[in-house]
Amino acid sequence: MTALIPVAVLAALGAVAGIALTAASKVFEVEEDERITRINDALPQANCGGCGYSGCADYAAAVVEKGAECNLCRPGGDAVAAKVAQIMGQEAQDVIELTAFVRCRGDCNATPHKYIYEGIQSCAACDRFYSGSKLCTSGCLGYGDCVRVCPQGAINIIDGIAVVDQSRCIGCGLCATACPNKLIAIRPATQKIEVCCSSRSLPKDTKKICPNGCVGCKVCEKNCPEGAIKVTDNHAVIDYDKCTGCGKCTEVCKFDAVKDITA
């Protein structure tokens, strides 16, 4: 009989706790939209932050609560975008794929060096030394900081400048962060036209140091039927929301700085 007392006491304590918790869970019930859980389950759980939200759970909540686009998950690709759109009852849209592009054509035939650099073979180190060894202070230095960070091995140094193999690039953006001159653009892969220069120097200076540089002559701006190309700071900038890829600008550019990069 005495053995039953502790059992009964503990059972009673447990029962009281159980009842209290059940009551509390009703009082403090959090209404969660079940779509959030379903979207979160559909996402790849890479928590890469590539969508612009801090992790998959945050993105799932943003889709339901803030009306974020359904096709922002790049690791998941079109399949996940379709699933998310289906949960939200929207029409499926393909994921906008991004690729990296090096905005420089100042290779060893085009831009001379102002000094011979024999230090640590890294763009970041060289860039600290009089803004790099090239005459163009915003050009590609070619010491391969981007090559080393690329997880896909998609970047090669050809004639002294970095070139991205568009078929292998996944648009992760690591190279863009690694580049000390910030001349690697992460752009929509479907867009054909690109300004292949990052120089914002005065036109006469750019002309002196690189035959391929954009001098901001505004010929492309005047000839664009969509008004998608604008020259700011001596440099052409394309608005991809307006660009149709007609290629007029590439025909009129005297320096071949605005190019159809798929050609």
């Binding site: 007392i5 502790p6 006491v9 503990l10 304590l13 447990g14 706790a17 209290a20 918790l21 509390a24 869970s25 403090f28 019930e29 959090v30």
Partner: protein, 189 residues
């Protein structure tokens, strides 16, 4: 007067974390940011005070039935109940804090500081109000240790440690030094 002595004793002289080395897990886990350490401290104060209030009658009952050997399991049951309650309240009222605390919130259940304070209440033969004061003071002591240490960690994060010492080793060394500084309080009461 005895209440003031209890509070000073738990906050400074016998600091639960820095002198008695209980609750080290959340002390190292949640002290990365001052904000989350304050939240954790508040949750622990709530759990400690409520748990002490409940374990007092529970212990009286166990004592009467002469089954005090059950106190550990019975107390843990009570503590688990309050941790679950805190979790529900935070999830409903302060979701950002709920996410910031993460796994350390349910881990208050196994935070030995909470069980420690309820056992300490009994071993020190405190009355009901004294138990509550002791629990509150200990909770404040835990919060103080966490907030102090998160400040120290913010300074460590800015330091250029040798690679072998960066991360956990530097944190543990700093924890030891903070603990040493609290030895200055010993013998006051």
């Amino acid at each position: 007067m005895s209440y003031i002595i209890i509070i000073v004793s738990c906050v400074f002289v016998n600091n639960i974390v820095l002198s008695q080395f209980m609750g080290i897990c959340p002390f190292l886990g949640v002290s990365k940011q001052i904000k989350s350490s304050v939240g954790m401290g508040a949750a622990v104060i709530f759990v400690m005070v409520c748990a002490s209030a409940c374990t007092y009658p529970v212990y009286k009952l166990l004592d009467k039935l002469e089954i005090t050997y059950l106190r550990t399991i019975a107390f843990i049951l009570v503590i688990a109940l309050f941790v679950q309650l805190v979790e529900m309240i935070l999830k409903k009222k302060v979701p950002p804090l709920y996410r910031a605390l993460g796994v350390y919130l349910p881990l208050i259940t196994t935070n030995c500081a909470v069980l420690g304070v309820t056992i300490d209440n009994i071993d020190s033969e405190y009355g009901f109000l004294q138990s509550l004061t002791n629990a509150f003071g200990t909770g404040v002591a835990f919060t103080l240790a966490l907030v102090l240490f998160s400040g120290v960690r913010a300074r460590i994060a800015d330091c250029d440690f040798p690679e072998a010492f960066s991360g956990a080793p530097s944190t543990l060394i700093a924890a030891a030094i903070v603990s040493l500084s609290f030895m200055g309080f010993s013998g006051i009461i």
